[in-house]
Symmetry: C2
Subunit: 195 residues, 2 copies
């Protein structure tokens, strides 16, 4: 993934936007709110970004980059399926916890991206979930995973992972890695004691 180098000011704008878009929602955050958070005037933002929606897009697309970058090497590795899925889960949760505002925006505000970018977003997101799905399928083929519908199992995994953005706190009891570990534990082996 090409690392686009970005000016200092631009990343300040992104940081403030991520925080406010997460806290209040994209539409409820005015350009003037962003400016105030940055100590500048609303119109000055347009020296850096062409539009408010461009900022949203930059956040969402950048977050997608993070997700891909973090699980691709694991998906392409030769790990045993169960270990591979566990590591992907931990990595995915890691992206969420390291980018808590951006990922909340990624999950919640994509509706406000207009075409054609919205389709691009949807495609990337499908492609991403497809990587998880392929691992789930492999597990089923190997007779390692139960034969629930492959799409259903994948969605259930993604559900449990993605909702973490609503409650994760950096100062919580569990570290990001522990959260991923426990989630993988529950999803793969269940809550019920077997021994």
């Amino acid at each position: 993934m090409a690392v686009k180098s970005i000016s200092e000011r631009k990343s300040q704008i992104l940081a403030v936007s991520e925080r406010l878009f997460n806290q209040k929602g994209y539409l409820a955050t005015s350009v003037r709110d962003l400016a105030e958070g940055l100590g500048m005037e609303a119109a000055s933002l347009y020296s850096h970004y062409r539009s408010k929606e461009d900022i949203l897009w930059t956040i969402a697309d950048g977050c997608a980059d993070e997700f891909f970058d973090s699980i691709t090497p694991i998906a392409e590795s030769q790990l045993h399926t169960q270990k591979k899925l566990t590591d992907m889960i931990i990595a995915h949760v890691g992206v969420i916890t390291r980018n808590i505002d951006a990922s909340a925006v990624f999950f919640r505000e994509w509706r406000h991206i207009s075409e054609p970018r919205r389709s691009a977003y949807a495609e990337r997101r499908n492609a991403y979930e497809g990587i998880f799905r392929a691992v789930v399928r492999k597990g089923i083929e190997e007779n390692l995973f139960k034969n629930y519908d492959e799409g259903f199992s994948t969605r259930t995994i993604m559900s449990a992972l993605n909702w973490t953005h609503t409650w994760y706190r950096a100062d919580g009891e569990l570290s990001s890695e522990e959260i991923g570990q426990h989630l993988a534990g529950i999803l793969l082996n269940g809550l019920v004691r077997t021994v």
Copy 2:
């Protein structure tokens, strides 16, 4: 729960609002959009509801009623813990699938409810999750469930359940009950084959 009888027109307004609030988001849906969906003028809505936010609140609070009504009898029953949790999961998913628009609004748009109702919403939602949490705690005390943090396990369950609102389609392959059944299966016993 007191069943508030509501005029025909009022429930039409709610139905249209739920649909549009889900599709476009609360803020992106104007009062004029709602009116157009109802074949009336924007100002006429105010003969039925005092404000746009009142409509949002009615949807959210009504949805909370549905959730409570559907799991309370199960939670109060004498069922074995594992069966009880399974039935609660099925019931919860049932509320989501039967009220797909309303529940999406419930989960996604509560940020736009202003105080003091917003606190009331938060309290009810905590109380509701507390019912699940109590069952999880009981399972841990009975040495039936693994000793993950009780709050963590509960959140993981709620996560997997609540995200269904993003992908459930009435014409999908699985019925609501099957979805609940499978979710309970994965959450309680895991994806990994053990026999």
